[in-house]
Every structure is written in structure tokens, then in C-alpha cells.
């Protein structure tokens, strides 16, 4: 028959054994964690006065002294767990002082040894720590660790460490090329990783703009957005005509941030077939306070795309008296029915915001001007009272 009781008994024995093993492992982890946490707390208590000394001395010119006694691996780990988050949060001189201290304590050496561990989790932990420690000596080791790793999330953790430790823009370029050639990640993720570097990567980003690879072009354009004070490379203007919509948008954003557009350009893009580009420009004019382009928005508030129409209304509300008057005209139907409701909505919103923010004489003057303007088109209506 299909019932074998002997096999069933064996199965019960195997299942119970596996359950005992699982329970043993789980409880082992729990107990281990509890003991480590207790040991770590005791250790932190021992370092209490030392950590207080560090906090006080951070603002002084003198170097930070390492603890007097020789530290065990566990003590180094405990100090590392406290000091690394400080380094992450601080910048400038404070960070430099802490980095020197970590080197003196031996944290760099400790993590370099762990970088050779047979366990991938330990190697990753060491790479992560060395990145925060900005240890420039390990970049090549991190690079080879990157090349050896399976292409999963850990690659991006190692990549961040490389960007943090590298002192050579060429290495960052190699890193980006490796990620682009082997991964499927968003260009913004690579740009975010590159941002970890303290090096001037402008030449690298410009080189990327001349590559045939659209992903590299995008990374170049995103990277340059951080450095809009510099002159925009000529190739960015031709990128505006790219067939890739994202490249077009990024190139335009770069030109907008650098104010490298003429009125003719602005007029052209406000009528561009892609609604995203019309929206981008309508939004930019508002938040940048470019009152010289106020008149150009008159047409956009009547845009067939609801989002563009709303963005334009919002921008007009940000563009002073003239913008407010265009909103009033549109809401009163002077330019036709399209966009009338949207204009009305933002008009009331703006008036409400103005009255809510009244604090100075200028605010009162501004508010009175707006009410005057509103009444010019709508009279002393109840709508206004309701809006306020």
C-alpha cells in the first residue's frame, strides 16, 4: 500500500530535528545579540568621559587624542559605531579631525584587515566603513572588490565607498563606466553616488556629454546641474535637440539653472509640443521670479493640458502685480473661457495667502494692491469675502 509508517516515523524525526536546529539558531542569535548589546553598553560607559572629551575638543584647534590604553578589537568596533555616524553628519574641519583620530585609533587598519575576510558580509561592512573613513589607500582594493562582486545591491554600497575614498577623477570615471556597462540602474542613482566624491568631477561629466552612450550623456547632464555657476559647454545646447526626451529635459534644466536661455528660447519652449517641457518652463518662470517673462504666460494658463494650466496659474501668482493682473483678467474671462476656473482658484488662494502672511507695512500695501486689482475686475463681490 502507499502508506509506509516507517518512512513517516523517519519524517517526524527529521522534522523535529530541523525544528530543534532552527529554534537553537534563532535563540542563539537572540542571546548573542542581547549579550553583545550589554557588552557594548558597558564598553560605552567606560568611554563616556572620553567621548565627552571629543565633543568638547571638536571645536578647539588641538588635535584629538586617541584613548590612552591599547584598544581591543571589540573596543575599536564600539568606538567605530559611535564615531562613524559623527563623521557622516559633520563636515569641514570637524570631519577632518575625526578622520585623523580614527586613523590614530587604528580603525583604518582594522577595517583594511577585514576587507580580506572570506565572508562577503564582513568585506562589505569593511568597505562601507572605509568609505566613511575616506581612506584613499584602499580605493584600488575597493575597485577590485567591486569587479569581483556579483552585480546586486552590494555593488552600489561598494561604489559609494569608492566615490568617498578616491582622490583621482579618473577612478570615478572608471567606476561610472563599470556601473553603466554592467548595471541597469537609473542615471540619477549613479549621479547620487558620484556626489559622494569631494573631487571636481566637472571634466568627467563634460567628457560624458561627448560619448555616444545616452546613459553617460544623462549622467553628465545631471552631474553638471550641481555646478551651474560655471559656463555651460556648447554641446548642452545641441543636447536640447536630442531625440531622447529625458536628455532634452535635462539639457533644458541645465540651461535654465545657468540662465543660459534667451527670450526667444523661452517663448519657443513655452509652446513646445511636449507638455512636460511647457510645464517645466511655466514652473521655472514662477519660482525663479522672472517677471520679464510674465506676459508669455498669458497664453499658457489656457493650455489644453490641465497640469500646465495649473502650473502657469501658480507661477503667475508668484510674479507680482502684473502676474496677478493677468490672473484677474483670465478669471474674469477677458481672454476667453479656457483657464478661467484655474485662474479663479489661484487668485483666491493668493489673496488668502497674502492676508495670512500680513505682518509688515509692505505686506499690507501689497495686499491692498491685490484687493484693488481684484475689485477692478470683479467689483466688491461676495466671492472675495468667501475666499478670505
Amino acid at each position: 500500500m502507499f502508506i509506509n509508517l516507517q518512512a513517516a516515523y523517519w519524517m517526524i524525526a527529521v522534522l523535529i530535528t530541523l525544528m530543534i536546529i532552527l529554534m537553537g539558531i534563532t535563540l542563539g542569535i537572540k542571546v548573542n545579540k542581547k549579550l553583545s548589546a550589554k557588552k557594548e553598553n558597558d564598553c560605552l560607559d567606560d568611554f563616556h568621559s572620553y567621548l565627552y572629551y571629543l565633543q568638547v575638543q571638536l571645536d578647539n584647534q588641538a588635535m584629538l587624542r586617541p584613548p590612552k590604553k591599547t584598544l581591543s578589537s571589540f573596543e575599536k568596533k564600539v568606538l567605530q559605531n559611535t564615531l562613524l555616524p559623527w563623521i557622516e553628519r559633520l563636515k569641514g574641519v570637524h570631519r577632518e579631525k575625526l578622520l585623523t583620530l580614527c586613523e590614530d585609533i587604528g580603525l583604518n587598519h582594522y577595517n583594511k584587515r577585514r576587507l580580506q575576510s572570506p565572508w562577503s558580509m564582513v568585506r562589505l561592512d569593511a568597505a562601507y566603513n572605509l568609505g566613511i573613513l575616506r581612506d584613499q589607500e584602499v580605493t584600488s582594493q575597493l575597485m577590485s572588490l567591486l569587479y569581483r562582486s556579483n552585480f546586486d545591491s552590494s555593488v552600489y554600497i561598494i561604489a559609494r565607498s569608492i566615490a568617498q575614498t578616491s582622490d583621482n577623477p579618473g577612478e570615478i570615471k572608471d567606476l561610472v563606466l563599470y556601473l553603466v556597462n554592467n548595471g541597469k540602474q537609473h542615471p540619477h542613482l549613479i549621479a547620487d553616488i558620484s556626489k559622494e566624491s569631494s573631487l571636481d568631477l566637472r571634466p568627467v561629466y563634460i567628457q560624458f556629454l561627448y560619448e555616444d552612450n545616452s546613459k553617460l550623456n544623462k549622467i553628465g547632464l545631471i552631474g553638471l546641474q550641481e555646478q551651474v555657476n560655471e559656463e555651460i559647454p556648447e554641446i548642452v545646447h545641441s543636447s536640447i535637440k536630442s531625440e531622447d526626451k529625458e536628455i532634452r529635459m535635462l539639457a533644458l534644466q541645465l540651461c535654465m539653472s545657468a540662465m543660459a536661455l534667451t527670450e526667444k528660447d523661452v517663448k519657443y519652449y513655452l509652446q513646445f509640443p511636449d507638455w512636460e517641457i511647457r510645464n517645466l518652463f511655466a514652473d521655472w518662470i514662477g519660482y525663479s521670479g522672472l517677471i520679464q517673462y510674465t506676459e508669455l504666460l498669458k497664453e499658457r494658463i489656457q493650455d489644453s493640458n490641465w497640469i500646465v494650466s495649473r502650473t502657469t496659474a501658480k507661477s503667475l501668482a508668484q510674479l507680482g502685480e502684473h502676474g496677478f493682473e493677468i490672473l484677474c483678467q483670465t478669471a474674469a474671462g477677458v481672454h476667453g473661457e479656457r483657464g478661467r476656473e484655474t485662474a479663479e482658484e489661484y487668485l483666491k488662494e493668493k489673496l488668502k495667502q497674502t492676508i495670512d502672511n500680513l505682518s509688515q507695512v509692505e505686506d499690507i500695501t501689497e495686499y491692498n494692491q491685490k484687493v484693488f486689482m481684484y475689485q477692478k475686475y470683479f467689483g466688491k463681490s461676495y466671492d472675495l469675502i468667501n475666499a478670505l
Partner: protein
């Protein structure tokens, strides 16, 4: 003769359950394979910094709400407080009969605006009555619409949303601060292929909650929420991590998931009319991507946590499980039959859908008849009682083993319940689950099927309680 037939069928049903456990055991092995990768991501990704990065993609959060006056305020507060660079929260009131709309209008001082213009709509939905907004909370929109069901509300939210990623959140759930950034980080690693990523749903009963956030994690004190806690840990950590490892995930929980809007629009949005819209949309995404031979992934992000209220009465739990049964049956009849054993649907066609049809949808029939056969057999003659008892014991042990495996995954990567007594309590409830709770679940699913065939499509009983209800009752006592 009858006695032998009953015994043979009863033993067959027990083998059936052992097969389910064996497949689940295989899936949990995949979960163990993946968990070390997840641990690396969880421990070493710099979420604090990413949440301030302008390089993260903007996300529209959609909150369908029907009679949610007791929980909606905390839910929206938690969503507005999320650590995320750019997101909008779109609450869609699905014609609630209670004060859902009023609670939000009062809390956030929202103003009424006209309905959104028709040209923005791309998915057909019930009529939208209007939009409420307050510039002081620029991320929040409240859309008021005629009743049309959860799927319809989600479609309204999709139509209104401004961003390329949409996230569906249940109105009785709370997202952890970094839940969205954790999913977004995963998405950024492969934006072309990730079409949907699900979050991990945990039971909030027993936890203390303030300002729309879980402040202290504790196990529930009541029986049913406690059983559901271990059930969810097993399903999400033991099951979904493994299924996602082989790209065979059949569901992203409606409580919390992130989707690429362009693909959701391509498949026509959420399907209304029946429950199980969360499973339906995932099956449709699989089908669309495989039909068009597009590379894709549907993944699960267990460290992105959403806390939800578990039903704490048999009546509400029964309604929920019957609804799930109806939804599952509808999806299997509508899409499962199209994908069953079809090579073009790869893992879905060969494993996920057959597993779901044979071992989930049909399980009430095999289990109930098998159980009746064993009862009948024991009434006639109990000479082979030891055989029945041994096989039942194997099933309990096997199920408990899988539950304990899931608890190990929890301990390795997440450690939400660090107390040792919590572990023993969870193991105890993992065993207890096999004595009544499981059988009830099967019965409810069967009753759900009957409702489906009788075309009874009501939502059933669903009474919400406000957050911290347990604590309030204790204080009052």
C-alpha cells in the same frame, strides 16, 4: 470497502497537504537564499541621506477610503510625515457614508475645488464630485467621488496623479517613515524592469501608536490578531521573499505597493467589480510583460514596512477571508486559466499559477472532503487511527517548521520582536494555528466560493477601530 475508500481518500488529502508544505518548504529555501542580499541592502544603504536626495523619483501615494473616519487622520499624518524628497498624497473618498471627508477637511482645513477636467482622465471611473486642497499642505489632495469600489478609487487616484510612480496604501494602514525610500532605492537599481514592488505588511494590534507612527512594537494581546501576526510573518517573509526571488510573485498587497504608472495604464488600471484587485493587477502585469516579451521584475521589499489593523473578531475576519476567497477564485478563473501550464508565462505558467489553482483555490475542496472522509472512517472503524494521527502530526510539524523558518528570517534581518518570550509566544501560536484557525480559514474560503457562485459580491462586515484601541480600553478599565 467503504471504510478502505474513506481511509484512502483521507490519506490522499493528507498527502495533498504534505505536498503543499513541501512546495512551501522549497519556497522558503529561496527566501533563505535571498535574505542575505536583503540584509546587505538593509544594513548598508544610506537611507537617511537618500531621503534628502533630489535624485529620488517622485511618487504619488493613493489612499482609497471608504468609511475610514476612525483611522484616516493618523494614516494621512503618517503619509505626510514620510521621509521622502518629493511625494503627493491623494486620498480618494469612495462615497463614504460616515465622516471620512469631514475629518480630513477639518484636520487639514481643506478647501473645495471644482472636479478635475475630463481630459486628464485616462481610466474610466465613477463620477468625481470634486477635489479638496489647502496650499498649506501642498502635498495633500482629497478627491470626493461617487461610490465605485476600491479599484475604482485607485483608478481615480491614478488619473489625478502627477508622478510616474504610484503607490497604493490602505486607509487603515500606517507606513514607516523610511518605507517609501526603501522601495524607491530598490526601484532605482533597475527602473526599466521593476514594474511593481510590494512592501511588508505587519500587524499593528498591540503596538503603541502616536502621531501616525508606530512608537513601540509589541505583539497583540488578543487571540485572533496574534494568530494573524504569525500568519503574516510566514506569508510575507517565508513566502513572498522566496516567490519574488524566482519572479513568481502573484500578489503585491493592496495595503502597500509601488507601481510604474505607465504600465498600470497600459493594462487598463485596476479591475473593479470583485475583490482581489491587488492580485489581479499583478497577474495582469505578468501577463502583459510576458505577452510582449519585455524584461521585467515584480519584487518584494521586506524592509519597507506598512502596519495594518488586523480584524479582532471572528465576524470581521470571516468577512475578510470570504472576500479573499472570492477574489482568488475570480482571478484564477479570469486570468489563471489563461496562464495555467503555458510555457510563454514561464515561472507564472509552470509554478505560481498551478500552485495557486491546485493548492490554494481548490484546497478547501480537498481538505474539507478529506477531513469528512477521515471523520466517516473513524465513525465506521478506528483500527487505523494511528496512521491518521501520524500523518496529521507530520502536517502540524511540517507547518510549524516552516513557521519557525520564517521566524528565523525575521530574527536574521529585521528583529522587530527582540524579546525571547516573544519568540516562544510566536512559536506557540504557530502551533496553535493548526488547531481550529487553519480549519476556519479553509471553511471561510469555501463559503467565499459559494458567495462567488451565488453572485453575492458585498464587501461584508468591516468595522474599523481607532489606533491604540486596546490601550484605551485598558486605561478605561
Amino acid at each position: 470497502m467503504v471504510r478502505d475508500l474513506l481511509l484512502i481518500y483521507g490519506i490522499f488529502a493528507i498527502y495533498y497537504v504534505i505536498t503543499i508544505n513541501t512546495i512551501y518548504f522549497g519556497i522558503i529555501m529561496f527566501s533563505f537564499r535571498k535574505i542575505f542580499r536583503i540584509m546587505k541592502e538593509t544594513f548598508y544603504s544610506k537611507y537617511d541621506f537618500l531621503s534628502g536626495s533630489k535624485h529620488m523619483p517622485p511618487i504619488s501615494i493613493l489612499v482609497p477610503a471608504f468609511n475610514e473616519e476612525l483611522t484616516i487622520k493618523e494614516n494621512v499624518q503618517s503619509l505626510l510625515a514620510l521621509h521622502y524628497p518629493e511625494h503627493e498624497v491623494i486620498v480618494v473618498n469612495d462615497g463614504s457614508g460616515d465622516n471620512t471627508t469631514k475629518v480630513l477637511i477639518d484636520e487639514f482645513r481643506l478647501n473645495y475645488y471644482k472636479p478635475i477636467p475630463a481630459e486628464q482622465n485616462t481610466l474610466p471611473t465613477a463620477e468625481v464630485k470634486g477635489v479638496y486642497y489647502n496650499p498649506e499642505f501642498p502635498k495633500l489632495y482629497l478627491i470626493d467621488k461617487e461610490n465605485g469600489g476600491k479599484a475604482d478609487s485607485l483608478n481615480v487616484g491614478i488619473n489625478f496623479s502627477n508622478y510616474p510612480l504610484v503607490s497604493s496604501i490602505d486607509a487603515d494602514s500606517l507606513l514607516e517613515n523610511d518605507a517609501l525610500i526603501r522601495i524607491a532605492r530598490k526601484y532605482m537599481e533597475n527602473p526599466e524592469e521593476y514594474v511593481a514592488i510590494g512592501g511588508n505588511v505587519r500587524i499593528a494590534n498591540g503596538c503603541s501608536i502616536a502621531y501616525g507612527m508606530v512608537q513601540k512594537v509589541r505583539l497583540p494581546k488578543k487571540l485572533l490578531p496574534m494568530l494573524q501576526t504569525v500568519e503574516y510573518v510566514k506569508a510575507f517573509l517565508g513566502g513572498r521573499i522566496g516567490w519574488s526571488d524566482i519572479n513568481g510573485l502573484i500578489i503585491v498587497s493592496g495595503a502597500f505597493g509601488v507601481f510604474r504608472k505607465d504600465y498600470v495604464l497600459k493594462i487598463g488600471g485596476y479591475r473593479g467589480g470583485y475583490p482581489g484587485e491587488d492580485m489581479n493587477i499583478i497577474m495582469k502585469l505578468h501577463q502583459y510583460m510576458l505577452d510582449h516579451k519585455l524584461p521585467y521584475k515584480i519584487d518584494f521589499c521586506p524592509d519597507a514596512v506598512c502596519w495594518t489593523q488586523a480584524p479582532d473578531t471572528f465576524k470581521i475576519l470571516g468577512s475578510q477571508r470570504k472576500r479573499w476567497g472570492r477574489g482568488n477564485l475570480k482571478n484564477m478563473l479570469e486570468l489563471g486559466t489563461q496562464m495555467f501550464m503555458r510555457p510563454r508565462y514561464k515561472v507564472m505558467g509552470w509554478l505560481t499559477v498551478p500552485y495557486n489553482i491546485i493548492f490554494e483555490t481548490l484546497s478547501p475542496y480537498f481538505r474539507i472532503t478529506g477531513f469528512l472522509a477521515l471523520v466517516g472512517y473513524s465513525l465506521i472503524d478506528m483500527t487505523a487511527w494511528n496512521i491518521v494521527a501520524i500523518f496529521m502530526l507530520i502536517n502540524v510539524l511540517y507547518g510549524t517548521l516552516i513557521g519557525m523558518g520564517s521566524l528565523l528570517i525575521e530574527e536574521l534581518a529585521f528583529r522587530r520582536f527582540p524579546r525571547i518570550r516573544d519568540y516562544f509566544k510566536m512559536v506557540l501560536y504557530t502551533i496553535l494555528m493548526f488547531f481550529g484557525y487553519r480549519q476556519l480559514g479553509i471553511l471561510w474560503r469555501f463559503l467565499g466560493h459559494i458567495q462567488f457562485f451565488r453572485k453575492n459580491n458585498s464587501w461584508g462586515t468591516m468595522t474599523r477601530t481607532s489606533w491604540n484601541e486596546d490601550e484605551k480600553k485598558e486605561e478605561a478599565a
